[in-house]
Amino acid sequence: MAELHVDVEIPLGPRRLSLTLRSRCPAIAVVGPSGAGKSTLLRILAGLERRARGTVAFDSQTWQDPAGAFVPAWRRGVGWVPQDGLLFPHLSVQENLAYAARTQVAPIARMLGIAALSARQPRKLSGGERQRVALGRALASAPRLLLLDEPFSALDRPLRSELGAAVARWAAEHAVFLVVVTHDSADVAALARESWEIVDDRLVPARG
């Protein structure tokens, strides 16, 4: 069973975030108010924050240690889905999905309900469609650790829970460790089995 271990400090504006987490639960939600540093935590896990100091380890691999060791983002096997999706604007939906695919794209597109969009350009998609394509692109890269930043914020309620359940199932079937940042309790319920919260620049187990 994979373990995620984070013990880092990072400056965030005038503040200093101190994030400590150790868990073997492969479906973690991180909640907290806007600006608390949730997205920063995902960026640290993805290997995109060189300013973070401390330890990051996943599945008995050390990605970062206090002595300065640092495994770069492209060698971590993560799938990072930023909040606004960031689909590559010069590529079609199909090309975005296939960009770093290590597995078949078609079943993922079907699961996310985006199979019919494959020829479209990203700027012709709605916010919710973009989020689903960005999610599909990350899933197709067969990550070991999937990092979702408010993944369904642009979707309406029924689709949201349906997709939440589908992604949770997919993650369990493919042994993917999931960390989702959200402030929607339905996302937490659909995707996560353990919740953490950023309070006063620290990561603590969520109440309730």
Partner: protein
């Protein structure tokens, strides 16, 4: 005076095109460094690149002559390579390249800076190494801006005068570009009608290049549009 208008136009176009082509890789490399990396000496590199923009072209030409001319430190090497620059077409290309380099780099730097670096971060996080990310994301997204830089460098090379005259001279059929031909004719007796022809050719070429630049700049903006 023996002076062929067509040859001057052809030479100008050849010099501009060669300067744009030879400068492409260094301009992209320097622009990328300035847009995406922080390193010691970055301000110095930026100042060196911009130098020819503020120096009188004649002085740039003089510095090039001192550096690359027969008596200069690099002269013997260029001679040995069979590529001397003094009073040759290559010299005109080098002069056009150096004088146009600042505008080349600045245009491409702007194109790189317009690309949201988070696209590159997404690519890296998906397991695509920095080289692949540059080829598949950064370069295609900045491509219209890079092409716009090429067009500007070409246009700047078309009309280069000061540095070209110093390094390459003003030799009919060999280094006499449009600007040098106009200068030679103005120096001659009377009002030669070829001056008007050359001026019109110059205006036409420049307007065409600017139209191309505008179209490419619009394409660059559209390429990075997220909505629409």
């Amino acid at each position: 005076m023996q002076l062929d208008v067509l040859s001057a136009v052809r030479l100008s176009c050849a010099v501009g095109a060669a300067a744009a082509a030879l400068g492409l890789v260094p301009a992209v490399a320097v622009a990328w460094l300035l847009a995406r990396r922080n390193f010691p000496g970055k301000s110095l590199l930026s100042a060196l690149v911009l130098g020819p923009l503020v120096l009188p072209p004649v002085v740039t030409g003089l510095l090039l002559l001192r550096l690359l001319g027969r008596a200069g430190p690099l002269g013997p090497l260029l001679d040995a390579l069979g590529a001397p620059v003094t009073f040759t077409l290559l010299g005109a290309v080098v002069a056009a390249l150096v004088v146009g380099f600042p505008i080349y780099v600045m245009t491409i730097r702007g194109a790189f800076e317009a690309v949201d670096p988070r696209y590159e971060e997404v690519s890296l996080s998906l397991g695509v190494a920095p080289g692949g990310t540059f080829w598949r994301i950064t370069l295609p997204l900045a491509f219209p801006g890079i092409a716009a830089g090429m067009v500007l460098a070409f246009a700047r090379g078309l009309g280069e005068f000061g540095a070209t005259a110093i390094v390459a001279g003003n030799m009919e059929g060999r280094t006499r570009t449009i600007a040098l031909a106009v200068y030679a004719l103005l120096d001659g007796p009377g009002d030669d009608p070829r001056i008007t022809t050359l001026a019109l050719a110059s205006v036409g070429l420049s307007l065409g290049a600017l139209a191309g630049f505008e179209a490419l700049t619009r394409w660059q903006r559209r390429r990075l549009e997220v909505d629409g």
